[in-house]
Symmetry: D3
Subunit: 128 residues, 6 copies
């Protein structure tokens, strides 16, 4: 597979998963490091997200769970909670993931994630 | 809902999700702190895992993703990768989650999780 | 013990420990997830903080130490540094905990915690 | 204050807090890096633990809480749980700290800490 | 070596490495805890950064790599990315470190670090 | 650039940096997930380590610093401390990095890394 095929496949997935907020992140990344922007499209999206063994909806659940547990990834968590909505999860299911994480990552990590969820829902209500 | 109902519901779920390895963990916990053992059954299992908003299979995917990202939870990761198998995920899907985590938690966390997955698969092959 | 007894005991403790800032956090949590708000009152406060084996003052010292070490919990750290003041620790003792954490969690985590302590002291001076 | 005064004061505290297990750690450190061994005695013990603003017993509670929350510090946690015993905390109080940490650092971190506590208690029973 | 020699040597290094932004941090620290400010100058700078075994340029590379990996240290990362520039690393090399960290700490940690790098470069362009 | 060129370039670098211990890790990874093994060669080594903007020696310093700070990566730290030796750093310089990390990641993380360094040096002495 050529690099341009990986890139095209990755970009298509990034748009589908992360929507306009993801594109905005990529514009910011690209202005500082076009190479890092390209790697993000090629490796996480072109190579990993595109793998057939787990569908996009489940990958986004895994992603959001990991970002809540890592604890220092609020901008990325915001994009990927939006991704959960775009991929068909409901607001109620996002809240369930947040509650579930209180068990494994502790209540403070869950509370911080709940704040991010509230911002994602407000942005959606405002059509942002 | 009474405390004994929470406990009974939690214990039933713990057995279903974590199987014999989970029971062994709980015996160890109970010998040092019966109260912590009781809380684990009541809150994570009786309250959270039993919530209807997200099914057990998806909760276990979220759990394993978080444990890989946290990085210092290998005993718990082993129990919950076994839980993925018990709840109907395949070995291939567990490996997909590990690969996916390389993007978000870094390759070292993914490599450590792969080692744990190998142990879980060997234990299953050996009928442990 | 019934669930409502756990809730009442938890709410009483939360008010005593976290004061008005804690109530504000709980209002925010409750507007997004009434269930998570209820769990916070029932499990961390109703079950754990209310245990007789370690008094509230020592539990708050343990809490603040853990939040500094976790590093990604500034909103919660602010509430619980306020809790230290409400439970009888002095500003000097809070600063001692911050200095002590430089040894275990590194100087950057201690510096970030010192910034939070400064905000807590300013809020108290301003009667917030 | 001269460096040798810091060192002497630090060494005396290290022996009092960490006992024979702490000395064994320091022998290992010293064989690989005498300078790091000296810094540990001078800065954490000579400078920080010796400060008057918080007594040794409370400093050890803060230390153990932070080590449980950091999650990747089991050898150090073992030494400092032993320190809690040497400084007058009971086994029951150590277990309380472990339970309390489930709220803030998550249940997996608490379970791992409980395992360490079990080892510390066994070592004490065996006179190690 | 006397304490005042450690302090003087530390302060000189802090000014050389962290420049005016580092001084501003130290003013903030000093207003809340003169002792912590003194320790920062004496131990990290006076004792560690001044050691001959690794030069300042390499120490700053190690520092920035660690701060990116820790993930919750953005104010400190900003000061030390500035330190990389002051010590002779180029903007391109800072970006290389950020990209390299995507492998070890995950892409979210790298993206957050890239945002900080952008702020450092803007501040330098604006003569701040 | 074709995928096979990325792979070949990556494998050559992996052998140069990580030597026989790295090959052993890759054999273990490959037996569980040939795809993850391939990605490790293609992305971290083929894409990132091969970039011209920072030489191998500096990349390994950055890697080891990050692994010490992450704290839960001892197997990877062992391979990459070996990598530091293979790329021309001395044992003394490795110890310097460990000492330096005490400032940023805390003394427990530095102590754990020192233990790993001791194992790496013993392995080298034993010709492993």
């Amino acid at each position: 597979m050529s690099e341009s095929e990986r890139f095209d496949r990755g970009w298509e997935l990034l748009e589908k998963i992360d929507g306009r907020p993801g594109e905005r992140v990529m514009e910011g990344v690209g202005s500082l490091s076009p190479d890092l922007a390209r790697y993000i499209i090629e490796f996480p999206y072109g190579d990993v997200w595109s793998r057939p063994g787990l569908d996009l909806k489940h990958r986004e659940l895994a992603t959001v769970s990991a970002l809540i547990a890592l604890g220092h990834c609020e901008p990325e968590l915001k994009v990927h909670m939006g991704g959960m909505l775009r991929l068909g999860w409901t607001r109620e299911e996002i809240i369930e993931v947040v509650i579930h994480m209180a068990v494994y990552a502790g209540f403070p990590a869950a509370l911080n994630a709940l704040t991010v969820a509230g911002e994602v829902f407000s942005d959606e209500d405002a059509g942002r």
